[in-house]
């Protein structure tokens, strides 16, 4: 087999492998992923199933009893609060008003978080607030 034919074959094999890998990635990513929702969406769609809930901790709603953490999560604007129960690691920045991400499902009106799935976003340091700065 002359070298250029060998090369073409190698190229075809490499490309096919890449296509197969990509197809595998695409196929599994949809089934392995969890959909992200905000509290308003969760409530309005009456969703069952596991979701990744993103929202803000409602100030004053945090309670700890033993191993369990209870709080309320709402949209960024504070509307549509949903009660949450969760046990597992609580990240350091977690407190009133912080944005959190939690994976779990809605059961009887309460969102039950999966263990250790609570993520709290670092407090915003990079938001722009042009009104506050005078030039």
């Amino acid at each position: 087999m002359d070298p250029s034919r060998k090369r073409k074959i190698r190229l075809v094999i490499a490309l096919s492998a890449a296509v197969l890998l990509a197809a595998g990635l695409v196929y599994t990513s949809f089934s392995a992923s969890t959909e992200a929702k905000e509290p308003s969406q969760l409530l309005s769609e009456n969703a069952t199933g596991t979701y990744e809930l993103t929202g803000k901790v409602v100030p004053g709603s945090i309670e700890r009893s033993g191993d369990e953490l209870r709080f309320q999560i709402a949209d960024r604007d504070g509307s549509h609060p949903i009660p949450v129960t969760y046990s597992g690691t609580v990240p350091d920045p977690f407190r009133d008003g912080r944005e959190v991400i939690l994976t779990g499902k809605l059961e009887d009106g309460t969102f039950v978080g999966e263990r250790d799935s609570l993520i709290t976003k670092c407090p915003s340091k990079f938001t722009s607030e042009p009104e506050e700065q005078s030039s």
């Binding site: 990513s29 033993g66 191993d67 609580v90 920045p93 670092c122 340091k125 722009s128 700065q133």
Partner: protein, 731 residues
């Protein structure tokens, strides 16, 4: 103690105006540099090229002055500067005052631009007498990037915005950032990102000027290596911080912002290897230009992701005004470079073809594919929420398990190649040498696999087993390389083996430094595999005096101590640990509670309702770490806090302080059960050790070797001089 502010409101206004003037001048100079460089390139008039180079030097000087202004404002507690008042305070320790600059959007842009200007000045100075055709274009690219970032600072996020009237106290630095790792992590990352712009700019210059041999690679090689090193340090610091300071005990979460720094590092690694093939064999030219464009684009993407708010992430800080322009820059860089490469693709023809599968060239090609494939998988997983939203209208996100599933096989394959690559030679390897070279490493791999299968439960974790076996292969292969180098030199010079080895190293730092990097990476991957597959993880709820077992260890919650200070109250738990009945260690995890400025918490509640950070208790060891974090239950203090807020509201702050002290002591005397997270992490220290070894190898590889080269050159000259009489073979 608060530093006296010597500059009044009027003075601050003057200084911020000076700062703005400096930025404006820097922008003008940068734009001039672009124009002069392009004009000089096209007309061939070197005076304009020279002028554009000086303009880059001037840009660096102006930005340095700007940085000095900002940092001195931080040091002086000049709260007339908006950045100072929002990120620092009079009580912030001096070290953190200096590093607070880059915790702000504006300050971090200034850092980026300043680092870029310094690196650009450096490379332009070094190459001032060389590569006359491509340096002007490279200058234009670098100055163009500089002007973009300076423009962002003037129009979108101003470091010299001032507050009038200046507040008397600043907001202070988030406690989470009051940590040496977090202070140094951003400059390391930014240096990495910025330094990748140097080879990128020279690549663009080479493409435009049609100098498509290896000269652009040679000139910028050390910058590329330095970029890789700094980016690696940034990644290392981030993971170590996460492990040591955050309460979850992990070092990598496949968070979008973490991924954003890892992807350019992976593609950059591919670039560093792939360019060797072009230098030695004149091949993979299209790969190389594409890899550096990819690396730099990913660097910009990383800079963008942190500021854009488009992905949910622990680090993503919400949408900012800078996101849009950055995305525009990324588009221009990516599309422009792709168009340029396509136009020049004919001139990027390889000088030779790969003739043998068992050669370094072919292994490097596979290496390229593996690393780029890895980066592609991570890219897909990171941006999947956006893709899914685009196609289905719903945001789906992928978590760590998905990443682990796809990254692991590629990582395992890579560790094998860190061993195979060094074993091969350029060009064809004879099958007899192949057999000799692969024998011992192969045996080591097989032996490792068998021992682990028999003596541990590694069989339940097949990927980890493969990784250990392949890492053994790599380490033995690398050891063999070192041994052969020493032996060969000893045969030549008769020196004792250790000296021969050291001399062999010194004469070929690039190669042996690279081998040390490989060894470090193999160790790092061993650490990752062991600590992720064989971890023991338990959440315990212990009252004082209670014990629990985790793995081979028995932990007893001995007592709680309170350490109240002005800037924070710390509660520390003392955990006695025994192993097999014998005392092993005492861990003291703690939790720090920082006061909040929020008046609704009340004068007593202030200290208990603010930010809290973890102090992790770690007992490190070569075989593994015992890690623990502690979460005390403060809810029992609530009635006292509420009563204290009500009854002690009127008394002076010293009295309130005493009350808080008393409360803290009372809690420490009789604390309720607390939650402990305990992790037994086998071999995790090898991650840090391996990373440090790899970085040391990189430094060694880039160490310039002037003395040796001079002597060598004379010897070669003499030898080749004899052959100069021979007829030149047809080219």
């Amino acid at each position: 103690m608060p530093v006296e502010v010597h500059v009044g409101a009027g003075g601050a206004v003057q200084l911020t105006i000076l700062g703005k003037a400096l930025l404006a001048a820097a922008l003008l100079v940068a734009l001039y540099a672009v124009g002069a460089a392009v004009y000089g390139a096209r007309s061939g008039d070197r005076r304009w090229v020279e002028s554009s180079r000086r303009a880059v030097y001037a840009m660096a000087a102006l930005l340095t002055l700007a940085v000095v202004l900002v940092e001195s404002a931080f040091l002086r507690d000049d709260f007339g500067f908006a950045v100072v008042s929002s990120h620092s305070s009079t009580t912030t320790p001096t070290f953190y005052k200096l590093t607070a600059m880059w915790s702000s959007q504006e300050g971090s842009l200034l850092l980026w631009a300043w680092a870029l200007s310094l690196a650009s000045s450096g490379v332009l100075y070094i190459s001032r007498r060389k590569h006359r055709e491509l340096v002007p274009w490279a200058t234009a690219v670098l100055a163009g990037l500089g002007s973009f970032f300076i423009g962002l600072m003037i129009f979108k996020a101003q470091p010299f915005a001032h507050l009038d009237p200046a507040p008397s106290e600043g907001a202070g630095l988030t406690p989470l950032l009051r940590n040496p790792y977090m202070a140094v992590h951003p400059p390391m990352l930014y240096s990495g990102y910025v330094l990748w712009s140097i080879p990128f700019a020279f690549c663009v210059g080479a493409l435009i000027a049609r100098r498509l041999d290896a000269s652009w690679i040679r000139t910028t090689r050390n910058f590329a290596l330095l970029a890789w090193t700094f980016l690696g340090i940034g990644l290392l610091l981030g993971s170590r911080w996460s492990y040591e300071e955050l309460g979850w005990g992990g070092y990598w979460g496949w968070d979008p912002v973490e991924n954003a720094a890892l992807m350019p590092w992976l593609v950059g690694t591919a670039f560093l290897h792939s360019v060797m093939v072009q230098e030695k064999r004149g091949m993979l030219k299209v790969w190389n230009v594409s890899l550096i464009v990819g690396t730099f684009t990913l660097c910009l993407l990383g800079t963008f992701l942190v500021r854009s708010g488009i992905l949910q992430s622990i680090h993503a800080f919400g949408a900012s005004t800078v996101g849009g322009p950055l995305l525009g820059l990324i588009a221009v860089v990516a599309i422009g470079s792709a168009a340029l490469i396509t136009k020049r693709v004919d001139e990027l023809r390889p000088e030779r073809r790969i003739t043998s599968a068992l050669s370094r060239e072919s292994v490097f090609l596979i290496n390229n594919l593996l690393l780029v494939g890895l980066a592609a998988v991570i890219f897909w997983g990171t941006f999947f929420p956006l893709v899914s939203e685009f196609f289905t209208g719903e945001r789906h996100s992928l978590a760590a398990p998905w990443f682990d599933r796809y990254v692991t096989p590629l990582g395992v394959a890579l560790v094998l190649f860190t061993g195979i690559g060094p074993l091969l030679a350029w060009g064809r390897l004879s099958s007899s040498s192949a057999r000799t070279l692969l024998l011992w490493p192969g045996l080591a791999a097989a032996a490792t696999a068998i021992v682990l299968l028999v003596a541990s439960d590694a069989g339940a974790h097949p990927w980890a087993l493969f990784l250990f076996a392949f890492a053994a292969f790599a380490l033995v292969a690398l050891g063999g390389e070192f041994r052969r180098a020493g032996v060969a030199r000893r045969r030549l010079t008769g020196e004792p083996f250790p000296r021969a080895l050291a001399r062999a190293f010194a004469r070929n730092r690039r190669r042996y430094g690279g081998y040390i990097v490989h060894a470090g990476i193999a160790l790092l991957l061993i650490g990752i595999a062991a600590s992720s597959s064989f971890q023991t993880n338990r959440d315990l709820r212990l009252a004082v005096g209670e014990s629990a077992e985790v793995g081979d260890y028995t932990l007893t919650y001995e007592r709680l101590t309170a350490d109240p200070k002005n800037e924070r109250i710390s509660f520390a738990a003392s955990l006695g640990v025994t192993r097999d009945g014998k005392p092993f260690a005492t861990l003291t995890p703690a939790r720090n509670y920082y006061p909040t400025e929020d008046p609704s918490a009340g004068p007593i509640g202030r200290y208990f309702m603010g930010e809290s950070t973890s102090e992790v208790g770690i007992e490190p060891g070569a075989g593994g770490d015992l890690w623990t974090a502690f979460q005390p239950d403060l809810s029992v203090l609530n009635p006292d806090i509420i009563r204290g807020n009500r009854e002690l509201a009127g008394i002076p702050p010293e009295g309130q302080g005493l009350a808080i002290l008393a409360l803290a002591e009372k809690y420490a005397q009789n604390p309720p059960p607390a939650t402990f997270r305990v992790i037994v992490n086998p071999l995790v220290s090898w991650i840090w050790i391996g990373a440090l070894i790899a970085l040391a190898g990189a430094v060694l590889a880039s160490w310039p070797a002037l003395e040796a080269r001079r002597r060598l050159e004379a010897a070669y000259r003499a030898r080749l001089g004899r052959e100069l009489g021979a007829p030149v073979p047809p080219n």
